[in-house]
Symmetry: D2
Subunit: 339 residues, 4 copies
């Protein structure tokens, strides 16, 4: 960590902060020039918060030079993490995984139709919402536990794994028999209590969506919360960030995949449905996701989006999903990752 003092900082102010750091066991390495008083802090600064040091009078700015996360970092673990979901399903490495399904689970029949279709097209994991985070209290909130049971049954019929979003730590035990992957939604990415509970109470993989306005560092810090609590099976998911542009629902930050690959060993997939919010863009964004090196996709599909109970505008029809999978298969012939 590098501390830069204000130009007019006094010697006494310099002494106060360095004494404080030395008393905590850190070393001090001076890098001042004639016009700037600057020093480095030597030691394990993971528990130091730059803003706490900025409380010292005379300090202008404090900059981290090491990552504040450890378990999630590429420097802690060099090789890519490959997560085993079950017998034949791995996420990371040279695999490109496709998770597909409806925004909300609506009925056994509807889910079965989707499960059969996405399996036939090449998906290996069924996604679906049973407990839905909705902006409006007046909107459909999901089928609840009944929805999870339906997903499990229909997924088993077609040999698919199951991923579904959990919104409260009270539900962990209820979810455990039904899901293969716990999804943690964008709005809960910094629900630290839930992160810790999930980390401690399940060994199944966690799909951690990036928050709407979370930096890549904060996202990896949330992964660190889960990992430090005991579960290292974290799959990151970029799903678009909030910007000034409103033509798309969010702005897909495709470079985030490359950033994650540089900074971390964890696998990272893309959710083009929530990023774009428009079904017309899904196929092309999926192709871009594959080409950029993502480890997979999570996509919303529905046999009849016009009558879906939620997110119809961004759901692919089954035949359009199938077309997308064929296009991805073409790409797979020239890319390293296999679909």
């Amino acid at each position: 960590m590098i501390v830069q003092m204000k130009p007019q900082a006094s010697k006494e102010q310099f002494k106060r902060i360095t004494d404080f750091l030395v008393a905590k066991g850190f070393g001090i390495k001076d890098a001042s020039s004639e016009t700037n008083i600057v020093f480095g802090i030597i030691g394990d600064t993971k528990s130091l918060n730059p803003t706490d040091l900025e409380a010292f009078e005379g300090v202008f700015q404090v900059t981290r030079v090491s990552t504040p996360y450890k378990l999630a970092s590429r420097s802690f673990k060099k090789e890519d993490t490959v997560i085993k979901v079950r017998e034949n399903i791995f996420i990371g490495g040279n695999q490109f995984v496709v998770m597909a399904g409806p925004c909300s689970i609506e009925s056994f029949e509807n889910t079965e139709e989707i499960a059969r279709a996405v399996k036939a097209s090449g998906a290996s994991i069924l996604r679906g919402g049973a407990f839905k985070p909705r902006t409006s209290p007046y909107a459909f909130q999901g089928m609840g536990l009944e929805g999870l049971k339906i997903m499990r049954e229909d997924a088993d019929k077609y040999d698919l794994a199951v991923v579904s979003e959990i919104m409260s730590e009270d539900m962990i035990e209820a979810f455990e028999p039904y899901v293969d992957i716990y999804q943690l939604g964008a709005r809960n990415m910094q629900n630290f209590h839930l992160l810790k509970q999930l980390g401690a109470r399940t060994k199944k993989p966690i799909l951690l969506k990036r928050g709407l306005s979370s930096t890549i560092e904060e996202w990896l810090m949330s992964a660190e919360y889960i990992m430090a609590s005991g579960n290292e099976n974290v799959i990151l998911c970029e799903r678009g960030i909030r910007t000034f542009e409103k033509y798309t629902r969010n702005t897909l930050d495709i470079s985030a995949v490359l950033a994650v690959k540089e900074l971390s060993h964890l696998p990272v997939i893309i959710d083009p449905s929530h990023a774009a919010g428009k079904y017309s863009m899904i196929e092309k964004l999926s192709m871009a996701s594959y080409a950029v090196g993502a480890d997979g996709l999570i996509v919303e599909v529905h046999p009849d989006p016009e009558h879906a109970l939620s997110d119809g505008a961004q759901s692919l029809k089954l035949e359009k999903f199938d077309h997308m999978m064929q296009e991805l298969t073409k790409l797979s012939k020239v890319l390293d990752k296999k679909i």
Copy 2:
């Protein structure tokens, strides 16, 4: 709600969506011109989601023309809501309330020193964190229940009310005896499960902070969640939004106070500490908050910010807080709100 079809939309596509809406009991009012097919939907559209209608083929764009919230809206209730915290403490109306205290509760003595000082300077509510949401799992996470007890005891000694942040619905019963106001943090603004539980299980006021990247509409929708669950005592709190500018920790959206006053009857206060992240800016931002018409402030203070366990950089020293209160008192002589 106004639906605009694509220029090339077919008659059949127009019929499909209008049939769907009519079957749901809505009326249709055509507003098309020669070049654009546009129609209004007549009826209570609160449960309709624009993006669901955008799932229909041929639809270009769907725009709300009524607010998606009701209980929180100014058109539902014309006069300003004034919330009674306890005997002599009201929020809203012609009062300007000041909540002050440390970021984290650290000890009985430290809290007592702060309580005595902020009371003497004119604050009426003690703020303090017992359960702390921290970006890093390695940072101090708060004293927990012990912290709440300390706050209560020290606040009572100086006749202050207590506000503290709750991070999980599991803690509602534990909080109830100790706090006068439940704080819901920015990162949990869309933790819908927690919103519903708070709305249903306590009658005490809820201080609802705006999420880092939440629109004003989403913020009011979160208030609506609480209100629709049974608790109408919601105090809104603007605390800065995330933008490209990094000189300040966040960007204080001071106009949001005026927007809330136009759209809603609920009181709204400002948190300059988290908005700016720099103690040097707090006094002036507090004066601006008062001048713009906010209903109060929540401010971080600490007798020794350099040694605070968290957020020292944005904490005011006790004498600086006192100075700020004197400046606000000057303003109070020419403004309608009384401090």
Copy 3:
């Protein structure tokens, strides 16, 4: 255009705005429900500004339902525009064009080395800055006219076309003999005076970069300025937008390519160098650009980025550029566009 009145708007207020519109020759089509007064404006609303109508008392919100641009819009011209740069070089259609070169022109020899290499790797257009927009007045501002001459000579030697940025209308005549494409930089996207002058005074194609915080609509409006002034050869270029995320220099908005394809007939290319600001990301972002359906790339390359006079951090070495071109060539075997 749809006008929504405030709930409490009076009949007289309604009459004032509708009288005003009727006097201007527009028709009015009522779409009000019991709770909302809403009406459509019938006629050519291109010259009406929604915010001007919001000046009328009683108006809550005015929404466009037709695009404010015409010549640039897909509904004006259905088929994709293909721009002829010169004999064998076309942009748009089923071609994927690659423009490559140094950030700044530094010398004849340096430019020649680059021209030879990028041509050999498969680029058809040489990019390079002679007049450089730099954030700091103390930074290298480019070689000026001498730089343009060098580019032209080296480009001709290797049968490449030339694209370079123009910063002032005073330079149009000076540029004309040297460039095949005029580049309009992101910071000048809304320099309306320059847009008009370029549109009127040259017939050569204009490469119009998207502003750092420009919406897609504003970008197309800037294209409309050029087209309405007499030059319809506009190539759009997405180069990253400014967001809260700072790991990359900007955030590449890859979905913008799809948005442009929906809204306009103009070709659109991607500049991954400025978007990412990191050479390590260029190859993968270029692959994603190709896969998403962009019409080409503009990429910074340099034989010795460590000693480049500007933008070294985002410049590819010549051999890395060659590797990238090979990877793109692999993709070309399975994609519709040919490189």
Copy 4:
């Protein structure tokens, strides 16, 4: 400037960058710890660009520790700059200046009515657009030179100074006899060519608006361009930044006033009209601007906003402007700055 190498950086990479810097005359001061290679660069780094150093292999990140601007910086000049506009009009210091007038100059009579009214209410400078930057080529582009003449004549009649926006360096000589202050609009804040020309060719004050997505540092760098070209009379103007929030036209970054006061000696005013885009918010935002310590305001007013040729939605009626001035006068009784 602090350079941090990647964890895996080699000794040779370290040598390459430090040799490069030493050859340029800089000193190197090592601040490495066991796990991080970090060093400071000693010398005048104003002409060094962090991103150029990031081109060196093995470099992870380069951070400035001194400001990249000099003439504009508070450390270069400690005391506040007070700019003399003419005999009795000063900007900066303990004055609070009010500039008011129409968005566009429309006619002699309309301008005279406004000039008389704003003078009577207490404004000292008449604002007005003669050359208008408009998003659409089909919108009213201003009266041109004729507008400037009208302004000058009407302003002189009521002893007001004149500020108007210039869009091209070709117009500098034409503006000189008519304006007292040149306004540089937000969209041209990084039109570096225009900045340099203005700096060199006029001695009159320049009102430099902040770009829609410009950081405070970039804004001060643009001021530096003007100052380094020979004109030190720069007045900064915060006018709202672009964020995800769309209820207001832009987001007023009121903290930017405090940031500028910390970093620079230049005066800074606020434009609440463009920030909010809604006349209903202007009075309260003006009061907040005064309370936060801004040096003045620039406000749009119009006798009949419903029929204004541009920006009616954000223009105050003359009587509302007068009310605002009375409210500000109340504030002036308790604040240090005098109106």
